[in-house]
Structures are given as structure tokens and as C-alpha cells.
Amino acid sequence: MISRPLAAAIVPALLAGCVQVSAPEKPIEINLNINIRQEVIVRLQEDVRDLIQENPGVF
């Protein structure tokens, strides 16, 4: 059985933990998406050049 003072100490600690984890996660995720996207687009250039040459009517 958890004593009342101990529970009072754990609950705010848990809540604080949740807030601390979710707050910095958001901006980091956005930055990663932008980086991946640019890198992928640059990497795709050669494939896309071939795709355009093989389909002259569509491009």
C-alpha cells in the first residue's frame, strides 16, 4: 500500500514526465521530415530524369 505522501510525490512527477517528453518531440519530428524529404528528392533526380525521357507525351 502506497502512503499518501508518497502518492502525492509520484503523481506530479509522472505528469511532469509526460509533459517533458511530448514537448520537445514535436519540433524535432518536423525538422526530420524536412531533411528526409530534401535528401529523397535529390536522390530521385536520376530516376525521374529517366522516367521523363521514357514518357515524352506525358511530360
Partner: protein, 130 residues
């Protein structure tokens, strides 16, 4: 009317029917190319990798633009699944090449921008084109 003349008329009708039929089939196969649509000056290239109407455009022109875009989407989808990337990423990568290859006077639109015509200088490219 002589028998010979009747035969000639019949032959003429037969030829016209065959040619006319072929003409219709040919027109269906000969959908306008992306280049011919751009040459109208009413269709431009968007940074999304698809064509779009610069102005309001006719219903027929819209249909032709849609037809090209449907084919593009199919090609982008194939390449995206082959490379394990998003369709939008393939489309954006294609836009870099498409806009780069535009001729002077043709229209293009960068992300969040308005339509602009390619001048004598090389066209501006979206920042992610690298």
C-alpha cells in the same frame, strides 16, 4: 445510272467509312501531349509535379490536363513503390526536372507562388531541387 457508276459510289462510301472510322480511333489515341498543352499558353507546370490551368480554361482543356496528370500519377506511383518513397516526393523530384526543361514563355508555379513565365534566364527552382 450505269452499273459501273453505282459500283464506284459504293466503293467510295466504303472507303469513306473505313477512313472516317480510323480517323476517330486515331483522334482517341492521339491525346494532346504535355508539350502541346504547354504550348497553348493556358497550361503551366506546378511544383507539385502536375500540370494545371493558368487561367480558367475550357472544359475540354481541363479534361486534357486531367488526362495527362492521371498518367503522371500512375508513373509517379510506380517509381515511388519501386524506391520505397512517397508519391509526393517522386512528383516533387519530377517537377524539378520538368521546370528546368521549360522553354521560354512557358508557365510554371513554385510552392506558394503565383504563375510566372520562363524568361531568357533559366527558370527559378523550388529550394529542395538541390
Amino acid at each position: 445510272m450505269s452499273r459501273k457508276m453505282k459500283l464506284m459510289i459504293a466503293a467510295g462510301i466504303a472507303v469513306a467509312t473505313v477512313v472516317g472510322g480510323n480517323g476517330a480511333a486515331f483522334a482517341m489515341l492521339q491525346a494532346p501531349t504535355a508539350e502541346s498543352l504547354r504550348a497553348t499558353g493556358e497550361v503551366g507546370e506546378d511544383a507539385s509535379g502536375y500540370m494545371a490551368l493558368v487561367g480558367s480554361g475550357s472544359a475540354e482543356l481541363r479534361r486534357q490536363v486531367d488526362a495527362v496528370n492521371i498518367q503522371r500519377r500512375a508513373k509517379y506511383t510506380e517509381l515511388a513503390s519501386a524506391r520505397g518513397v512517397k508519391i509526393e516526393e517522386v512528383a516533387a523530384a519530377a517537377a524539378c526536372q520538368i521546370i528546368r526543361g521549360l522553354r521560354q514563355g512557358q508557365y510554371y508555379r513554385l510552392p506558394g507562388g503565383a504563375w510566372q513565365q520562363r524568361g531568357a534566364q533559366p527558370p527559378q527552382l523550388p529550394s529542395y531541387c538541390g
